[in-house]
């Protein structure tokens, strides 16, 4: 088990290095001369040459790459053009709200997706199955930014059931201000015993979380259905039936335990995808996370920030996959006994 984990960690490390290299390459695909851009439109030729030297762009590409790698490892991810702060510190501030959103969405997706997938597999071909399948495909076909706008319109503007945007009710800023410690609004409200704020943060979380949960829920339901149906014809299921186990035990326990492996892999995948999906919805919901930061960086053409976000999310994705792989090996003997 430890050997497996060690091997996977080493592999992940290699992949991360590769990711950094690819990000570097993307950074240097920029057409035009970055030195000229930096120096400004009225710079003279010699000033541009000076700029190039200053930015280190006159060094051979390999040297630039090594220096970039070193920079990333030591925490120097560049300076954001639109916030004028270190990109890394920007990212660390922006990450918790996004993580809160994504984790909540994943929890919703799992709680909805797994039972629906099981139900679907229980009576394949019947109306419930068809409906769930259609719903799942709808979930994975949904343009998330559109869904955000529509839900905002319907539930906020028209029905007034849920708040439109923000992390919490602005009126509470004065009466029950939020003391930020971890950066996660819900957790901060919880640990400081700020109940009105807790209620508010939860309420404001609902709509964005539902929007982000649509794709994962659809994917998980489909995955569970497919995996369970794949195993249901196998002899060990017949054996379980012959031993007297009931259908729900068979689906919910025996078949599901087998399905966990690919479903867990799917969860890692949708974690990464959802983190990127927040880029599309955070500005709609005024959610101050990585997504808003990314959207702002894109509209101001803030290249260091864009690359910083890319690197950050990609590394988070690699880590998530690593964690899932190791957990999977702990649960499923077939993986570690291979």
């Amino acid at each position: 088990m430890l050997v497996f984990a060690a091997r996977r960690i080493a592999l992940a490390f290699v992949v991360v290095v590769g990711v950094i290299v690819v990000t570097f390459i993307v950074a240097h695909v920029v057409p035009g001369d970055p030195a000229a851009t930096w120096a400004g439109p009225h710079a003279s030729a010699s000033q541009i040459v000076q700029a190039r030297k200053f930015l280190g762009l006159d060094r051979p590409l390999a040297v630039q790459l090594v220096s970039y790698l070193g920079g990333v490892a030591s925490g120097n991810w560049g300076v954001s053009i639109h916030t004028h702060r270190s990109v890394l510190s920007d990212l660390l501030t922006a990450a918790p709200p996004s993580l809160e959103l994504v984790i909540t969405a994943l929890v919703l997706a799992i709680v909805a997706g797994i039972p629906l997938g099981l139900l679907s597999a229980r009576r394949p071909g019947r109306p419930a199955d068809q409906a769930i399948r259609a719903g799942s495909i709808l979930g994975i076909s949904m343009p998330i930014f559109w869904m955000a706008l529509i839900l905002q319109l319907v539930f906020s503007q028209r029905l007034k059931w849920l708040p439109a945007a923000g992390e919490y009710s602005p009126s509470l800023l004065f009466t029950h201000p939020l003391v930020r410690r971890t950066g996660f609004p819900v957790i901060d409200a919880l640990i400081s015993g700020n109940l009105p704020m807790l209620g508010s943060t939860l309420k404001y979380l609902i709509l964005p979380a539902i929007v982000v949960a649509a794709y994962p829920a659809g994917l998980i339901a489909r995955m569970v259905r497919a995996q369970v149906l794949d195993t249901i014809g196998e002899t060990h299921i017949l054996n379980a039936r012959a031993l007297g186990f009931g259908e729900w035990q068979i689906f919910g326990r025996f078949a599901m335990k087998l399905a966990w492996t690919p479903v867990a892999a799917a969860i890692a995948l949708v974690f990464g995808y959802s983190l990127v999906n927040t880029f599309l919805v955070e500005s709609i919901f005024d959610w101050p996370g990585l997504g808003s930061y990314a959207a702002a960086s894109i509209s101001t053409l803030d290249t260091p920030a864009i690359l910083g976000v890319t690197l950050f999310v990609a590394v988070a994705y690699v880590v998530a996959n690593l964690v899932v792989d190791v957990v999977q090996a702990a649960i499923d003997p077939r993986i570690r006994l291979r």
């Binding site: 495909i137 076909s141 949904m142 998330i144 559109w146 706008l149 599309l280 894109i298 999310v313």
Partner: protein
Amino acid sequence: MIETPTITPPKAAIPRGAMWRGLRANPLLAVGGGVVLLIVIVAIFAPLVAPFPADAGTATHPFEVLKAPSAAHWFGTDQVGRDILSRVMVGARVSPVIAVIVLALACLVGIPLGVAAGFLGGWVDEVIMRVTDVFLAFPPLLLALALAAVLPASLTSLTIAIAAVWWPWYVRLLRGQAASVAGRPYVEACRALGISRLSIIFRHILPNSITPVLVQVSLDVGGVILTASALSFLGLGAQDPVPDWGLMVAEGQNYFTPDWWLVTFPGLAILVTAFAFNLLGDGLRDLFDPRRSFLR
């Protein structure tokens, strides 16, 4: 994206009767295929069928601004008075074309690399797969976004950005196919007889791979369309006046609260298109891999 079809073993040609029975028993395929066909027809004939085809171009109508849906304008008009129905119809040409180009490029790059990796094995396999793994370590939208952000915003940049991100899946798929075929006894026999590797590739590996590639492509179209519309929404793709659906949603955002039709219809078009292609892809997968059929 992770839903690659299982590797299909080489089988005898499917009898025609079975194909038709499969179609009738497979409502997903029928509905998905039907809607896709409709979208393709609309896309091809849009300039002829759309009520105000010029509105998909540079025409503006300052006196018809922000009109709600009516008999004259079924989908209403936008902030410069253009008929939204016409723009949506002509916009049907944008996304599918991007999808076709992206997937063609992905196959063009991914198939040879995958076959090389799976068939030749050894260090070729290792190198190709490590590079592929690195690209797969990025959620697709993320890397496409980074690329599109550093390139000047246009449909071309968007297409290149997405294509650069989509090929790894095809490398993996073909590698699996090639490796599975390469390990078979009859291939060993072929080699023993002195038949060239290239010949084996073209006569055995590629024909067996057509089905899974076809299924993967149809499953991917929806994903590419969603990615493309997301990037356009962020302003990284098509620019005004191109009637790209994602761009239309972005432009309509500011007017959304009273004038809901600017956002609703283009977004609905994205949803329906992605949905139809996903149904089609699912249907094809069920058709070619009967083990997965819901009938059992």
